[in-house]
């Protein structure tokens, strides 16, 4: 009889991957799964399946929720420190490509924390759902006669649409469920910069082309997931994150609060959307 970790997993291993990038996001996902009475368990066979492919992040099975078989992948770590952002051997680009190939999943939802655009219309803990991503690093930096002697020309930015099936699920959830936080749906700025400057945030907001959707916030990992599409015009990803700061000079203080509620709300929203879709299909 085969041992539990020698069992051959069926293919595809899952239909939906949930990604997180920090320990706080990882904890939030597990806490919300427990709160919603969803299983969130490690299985030797699953761990072994990933180990055989050189993937060493923690992985939890959330079972089949409605139509989706869901696996959550924990944050990648180097020397114990979580790897944030899109770049590097363990950044979201590499992670997305490797886990899609290892699971055959159709979709990835990147959960976690993002920055908001404006206090007042938005609050800490509000959830952002990306209909598209704007990779703002793709720009031309040109000389200018006035200070600081250059300007950024963002006209080369290409807006990347999210996976429609994942966005649609979030829209259904927003319409049918009342939460203690607001849900903002639209374009999200995405790049590797950790922004602590309202002037830079406002420059992005004011000058980056955003297509037909309003910009609702920004984050760091989504841009890496653009690499993970198996087919050219079939995006795999959607970013769902809670607002943990406003990318300005108050970031350092504000994030102490945001760090707690933002990933909790994002995880709650996504798991709730899966559960309510399951009820819809029952």
């Amino acid at each position: 009889m085969a041992k539990a970790d020698e069992v051959q997993l069926p293919w595809p291993v899952c239909s939906l991957l949930l990604f997180v990038a920090t320990s706080a996001e990882e904890n939030a996902l597990q806490e919300q799964a427990a709160k919603l009475e969803l299983p969130c368990q490690k299985y030797p066979a699953l761990t072994n399946h990933f180990r055989e492919r050189g993937l060493r992040d923690d992985a939890w099975s959330l079972g089949t929720i409605g139509g989706e078989t869901v696996i959550a992948i924990g944050c990648s770590r180097i020397k114990g420190n979580p790897v944030m952002g899109p770049y590097g051997r363990l950044g979201s680009a590499a992670k997305g490509m490797r886990y899609l190939a290892a699971t055959g999943a159709q979709g990835i939802i990147q959960l976690g924390m993002a920055f908001g655009i404006s206090r007042g219309p938005q609050s800490l803990g509000d959830v952002l759902v990306s209909t598209s991503l704007i990779p703002y690093d793709k720009r031309d930096v040109k000389p200018a006669s006035n200070e600081p002697g250059y300007f950024s020309d963002y006209s080369a930015v290409e807006i990347e649409p999210a996976r429609p099936a994942l966005v649609q699920r979030c829209l259904r959830e927003k319409a049918r469920t009342q939460f203690g936080f607001a849900v903002h749906v639209g374009a999200m700025l995405s790049g590797a910069a950790r922004i602590h400057c309202a002037a830079f945030r406002d420059e992005l907001y004011g000058t980056v082309p955003h297509g037909n959707e309003p910009i609702v916030g920004g984050e760091m990992e989504g841009v890496g997931l653009l690499a993970a599409a198996v087919k050219a015009d079939d995006p795999a990803w959607c970013v769902v994150k809670g607002i943990c700061d406003f990318a300005d000079e108050q970031r350092g203080e504000e994030i102490k609060v945001g760090l707690t509620i933002a990933p909790q709300n994002a995880a709650h929203f996504v798991l709730s959307s899966l559960l309510n879709d399951a009820k819809m299909l029952a």
Binding site: S15, T64, G67, E68, G104, V230, L281
Partner: protein, 206 residues
């Protein structure tokens, strides 16, 4: 009066994408037009091109290529423009099936669509052997509960796939045996790409 102001008097062809409008005018002038898919890599990670072949007085003109576009392809099918052979028609209709099933995917989610689609295929004679079976045997899908949602989803899938077969028969005037050949290829390709079967084989995982 500029281009926008003329819209109120525009001929009905103006509603068509420019490439479809052009092909329509060339067909009406007596040209023969066929299409071919250009896929630089089997995994499909590059943009797929649609190559337009045109013969004027039986002389082939320089082919030209545009990026694949579901709307343009649908317009060309409406004009009765076939692919250059049945293999190519199968590849083209795999894309048509993908486009047609997108709204089912949005409504029911990826996992549910996959499960119901596999269930539907398993009960079809198309999956008893041949190309679809050769892909299907490498795919696992859970068996969804057969409730009202299941039947609604299954009906939508069957309608969309059936609709593509009707297009092959009525708009592209293929014989019944050719329709079956094309749809079998198209479904096998769609399934293969949806479940990454060839790509796993290429990576040595099958």
């Amino acid at each position: 009066m500029n281009e926008l102001d003329k819209m109120f008097e525009a001929p009905s062809e103006m509603a068509l994408p420019p490439l479809v409008r052009y092909c329509k005018s060339r067909k009406e002038a007596g040209d023969r037009i066929e299409v071919e898919l250009y896929r630089p890599d089997a995994g499909g990670s590059s943009q797929t091109g649609l190559v337009i072949h045109r013969w004027e007085n039986e002389m082939e003109q320089t082919p030209y290529q545009v990026e694949w576009d579901d709307g343009v392809n649908a317009g060309l099918v409406d004009l009765g423009i076939r692919a250059i052979n049945l293999q190519q028609e199968g590849e083209r209709f795999a894309f048509s099936i993908r486009a047609a099933l997108r709204h089912v995917e949005r409504r029911y989610g990826d996992g549910y669509l996959s499960a119901v689609l596999v269930d539907l295929l398993d009960e079809s004679d198309l999956c008893k052997g041949g190309e679809i079976f050769e892909v299907r045997k490498f795919v696992h899908a859970g068996r969804p509960e057969r409730n009202r949602s299941y039947h609604a989803c299954r009906d939508l899938i069957a309608d969309e796939i059936g609709g593509r077969a009707v297009e092959l028969r009525d708009k592209l005037a293929y014989r019944p045996d050719e329709v079956k050949t094309v749809m079998t290829k198209a479904l096998a390709i769609y399934l293969d790409e949806r479940f990454s079967v060839s790509s796993r084989r290429n990576f040595g995982l099958l």
